[in-house]
């Protein structure tokens, strides 16, 4: 039996040092530690006030089991809970994902494929119809995840928990998951911001959970009002199951599409946090913001998003690894960062696992010499590799991308094309409309080369999906039995240290095979008003979790 549950201020690495026995003692002992601020922020939390945020897009709808859109998951993070969550607060290092119980008091793994979760007692649904504040039970959790796995239009989310075979509720406060095969990432996947626990009564009353009226959760705030394309307002849940939390009486998300207007409103004090996704501001705007807002709180962090190049591995010239290496070597990731308004040169190169996921992304200096070499822009060497592969006068290939990711992305595309050209890779750029790109190129329907963005998910294991045969997102067409075995092996390895070694080995191996060429991720600047306390930015969509432990000191 392996005690997997853990709580408190400790990171996963700290816990590994202390050993599993200590972790077992720690479990449940620090239920309220999530509210404890770091020393820098140490002061008495204040109740009251309303957090004001900006979102540039409106939610697609409010049903978490019918979309993967961040614009839906962010608002839901204020109103719903899940079994486990990523710890929040100013002491949490951005890019780390320490897991703690949310609805779960504790959990344990029995054998390789069974997980048993004990729920907190006395958790009540929001006092709104049709659930009207009744107590949450194991049946609710069972219902949620069965719906999650069986809703037809949840294909995209389903992959998160597709290893689940059976869910049982043996008693009112116990939920048992049986997996089809061992998967060491199961609990991390349950911390995804797609796994909100929903109420059966809401689904039955409204048919689905798309309407704002159907948003009845157990989270720290209750959805009070949704005005399409205007605002989403939340009010404090007085019966929230963590005593004393949240501190703020409300949250207001203003839906404002224009980035300039959003930044202007931030400067004018209309928002408490940076106006862009992740509560950040562009680094190019940082000086202006600091000049206008005295004592502005800021913190740099690497985002999970980053560009990558997919190449058709079953077609010439990309069958030849030397050509793929030439592509990687002609990518000047430093220039990509320097020309980006978010980063102005600040950021990090990515191996397979984005550098943002600090615990699982291998540092570039730990790659083998051949892999490391490919991260140094060297058009001369790239030309030599192409010549060695039988292309002395370079290659000409069609490249597909979309302008739908915005002007910053197109700047990066221009840099990539320019540098490829200097290495003898002449590209014939084909810009696709965003919708067409998503429904064709991303699914591998492109001619030889594609430039695109990845990121958003904070679970390292999901990044292996594009390397497995038969997966829709395997756009390069990777079919490498050795790699597939390594990916499956790390999923079966529960010892975190050993698993990390395998994950690092996979990245070492991939750095030389270059099935995809990964570019850099920018270092963004999260910003917040000086009166916002105990706020810690992080990757992922869990705004609610982060703001629950923060307060306004006005």
């Amino acid at each position: 039996m392996d005690q997997h549950g853990r709580q408190g201020d400790l990171t996963r690495r700290d816990l590994l040092k202390l050993g599993s026995a200590a972790a077992a003692v720690g479990a449940g002992a620090h239920v309220l530690d999530l509210a404890r601020p770091s020393a820098a922020d140490a002061q008495t939390p204040k109740r009251g006030g309303t957090f004001r945020l900006r979102s540039h897009v409106a939610p697609v709808h409010f049903d978490p089991h019918q979309t993967i859109a961040f614009s839906t998951m962010i608002p839901l993070s204020f109103a719903y809970s899940r079994l486990v969550k990523v710890k929040a607060g100013s002491s949490v290092v951005p890019g780390t994902q320490p897991i703690e119980g949310d609805l779960a008091e504790s959990w344990e793994r029995q054998g390789d494929t069974v997980y048993v979760f004990k729920l907190k007692k006395g958790v009540r649904w929001h006092a709104k119809p049709p659930v009207n504040g009744r107590e949450l039970t194991a049946e609710d959790v069972k219902y949620t995840y069965e719906r999650f796995l069986t809703t037809k239009t949840n294909a995209a989310n389903r992959a998160i928990l597709e290893m689940v075979d059976k869910i049982e509720a043996p008693d009112k406060y116990t939920v048992r998951f049986t997996l089809r095969e061992p998967n060491a990432w199961f609990v991390d996947r349950l911390a995804s911001t797609s796994t909100w626990v929903v109420a059966k009564e809401s689904v039955e009353k409204f048919g689905d959970l798309k309407s704002p009226e159907s948003v009845v959760g157990t989270g720290p705030w209750m959805l009070q009002r949704y005005e399409p394309n205007v605002r989403i307002s939340f009010v404090r849940n007085p019966s929230y199951f963590v005593p004393g939390l949240p501190y703020a009486d409300g949250v207001e998300i203003v839906l404002s599409a224009d980035p300039a207007a959003g930044f202007a409103a931030f400067l004018a004090g209309a928002f408490d946090f940076g106006p862009e996704y992740g509560m950040v501001i562009r680094r190019s705007d940082l000086e202006v913001a600091k000049g206008r807002v005295k004592g502005l709180g800021t913190r740099d962090y690497i985002v999970v998003f980053g560009g990558f190049t997919a190449m058709k591995l079953d077609q010439d010239p990309f069958k030849d690894v030397r050509v793929r290496r030439a592509v990687a070597m002609s990518d000047n990731w430093r220039e990509v960062l320097e020309t980006n308004a978010w980063s102005l040169g600040q950021g990090a190169p990515n191996p397979l696992i984005p550098a943002a996921l600090k615990d699982w992304s291998i540092p570039i200096d730990q790659l083998p010499a051949e892999g490391r070499r490919l991260y140094e822009y060297n058009p001369g060497e790239a030309k030599r590799l192409l010549a060695e592969a039988g292309h002395p006068s370079g290659i000409k290939v069609p490249v597909e991308t979309t302008a739908g990711y915005g002007p910053d992305w197109m700047d990066a595309v221009q840099v990539a094309l320019k540098n490829w050209k200097s290495a003898g890779i002449e590209s014939d750029l084909k810009l696709k409309e965003y919708g067409a790109f998503v429904s064709s190129s991303l699914l591998g329907k492109f001619d030889r080369m594609m430039l695109t963005l990845r990121g958003g998910t904070t679970d390292p294991d999901t990044y292996f999906t594009q390397l497995l045969p038969g997966e829709a997102l395997n756009s390069s067409g990777v079919n490498d039995p050795k790699l597939t075995d390594m990916i499956k092996l790390q999923r079966r390895t529960f010892d975190e240290k050993k698993r990390r070694e395998i994950v690092f080995d996979i990245q070492r191996y991939l750095s030389q095979q270059v099935y995809y060429a990964y570019s850099a991720s920018v270092s963004a600047v999260a910003a917040w008003m000086p009166y916002v306390k105990n706020f810690g930015p992080n990757i992922g969509h869990d705004y609610g979790g982060r703001l629950m432990v923060a307060w306004l000191d006005k």
Binding site: V57, A58, V60, H61, T67, I68, K152, T153, A155, A156, R158, A159, K210, S211, E227, P228, N229, V230, R231, V254, L255, S256, A257, D258, A260, A261, G262, F263, A264, A265, L267, A268, G269, A270, V288, R292, K432, E433, Y434, G435, A436, F437, V438, S439, L442, L443, A472, L473
Partner: protein, 313 residues
């Protein structure tokens, strides 16, 4: 007059029918599959087919069109493919915002253009004429969204002030509601004002050279009477035609201005719908826009008959 207006209405019906075919078929020619978008990147084939059937998108396009037209005739524009809410309900909430912005922009365009155009014509080749023409060229050549971005951003950087980007309903705060429209409507009206002002000036100059105006001067009438009573009414007829065209332009402009100023009108609704390939919404919004443009042109035609008694088609 009644017969004339009735004829114009009859002519408008085939226009609307042709527009309805275009409005229905064009969104479907856009690359990208709404079903694939709805299921996002990881959809499975079986799910795609089931959803396509559920949404009625698996049937031949002409059958879909015929059914849609039948529903439109009954005042039903269908449901959003994403939210399953009736399009009419969504439009009724948003249409007043766009109309308010559009009408206010038109008001500003007229209020700015007519006096300046008249002044520029009456004081031809003077300093005021030169300034008015220069401003008109500037208004025509500088994109409205660029002016809007500067107007939003610069005061925030200099003084920490920005126009409100949170929409306030009229019932909650009348002044806040009206004031949030003033700036976008003014900027939106500038480009139209420039075009109207230039045309007013040119038309008035032409009329002022007519014999009957010279006669009016010879009779010793005051300048105000010669210009406003004898010249302007004749000069304004082509301007009224341009106003009809400007209404279409202003409606198009609301798409961007609603984005910048956070106004929840039809433009923003249309923008989101295009991104999501929400066919019923795209069709519904475009049909409303086409109807408004056709309706306004009908109104312009009617005004023609009022302004110029010679017009009898």
């Amino acid at each position: 007059m009644k017969k004339y207006v009735l004829r114009r209405i009859l002519v408008a019906i085939p226009s609307l029918l042709i527009a309805s075919v275009i409005v229905f078929s064009l969104p479907r020619l856009l690359p990208g599959d709404v079903v694939q978008l709805m299921l996002e990147e990881k959809a499975y084939g079986k799910d795609l087919e089931e959803l396509r059937e559920k949404l009625g998108l698996n049937r031949p396009i002409y059958i879909q069109y015929w059914e849609w037209l039948g529903r439109v005739a009954r005042g039903d524009l269908g449901e959003s493919l994403w939210t399953r809410r009736p399009v009419v309900e969504e439009l009724l909430r948003r249409l007043p915002v766009s109309m308010e912005l559009g009408l206010l922009a038109l008001f500003f365009a007229i209020v700015i253009a007519l006096p300046i155009g008249v002044l520029a014509a009456v004081r031809q080749d003077s300093a005021s004429d030169f300034i008015a023409r220069s401003l008109a060229i500037l208004g025509l050549s500088v994109p409205g969204f660029w002016i809007a971005t500067l107007v939003v951003l610069l005061p925030a950087i200099w003084w920490g002030w920005s126009p409100p980007i949170q929409f306030t309903e009229f019932s909650k705060d009348k002044w806040a509601h009206i004031s949030q429209f003033l700036l976008p409507a003014f900027i939106l009206g500038i480009a139209s004002a420039a075009a109207i002002m230039r045309l007013t000036r040119a038309m008035l100059l032409e009329v002022l050279r007519q014999d009957y105006v010279r006669t009016a001067w010879a009779k010793g009438l005051r300048e105000a009477v010669v210009v406003s009573k004898h010249s302007l009414k004749n000069a304004i007829i082509p301007v009224v035609t341009v106003l009809g065209i400007q209404i279409a332009q202003i409606l198009g402009g609301t798409v961007i201005f609603e984005q910048i100023f956070g106004l929840p009108g039809m433009g923003r609704f249309l923008f989101d719908a295009i991104n999501q390939r929400d066919y019923p919404v795209i069709q519904g919004v475009n049909l409303i826009i086409v109807s408004v443009v056709v309706g306004m042109n009908l109104l312009v035609d009617a005004m023609y008959a009022f302004l110029d008694p010679r017009i009898r088609y």
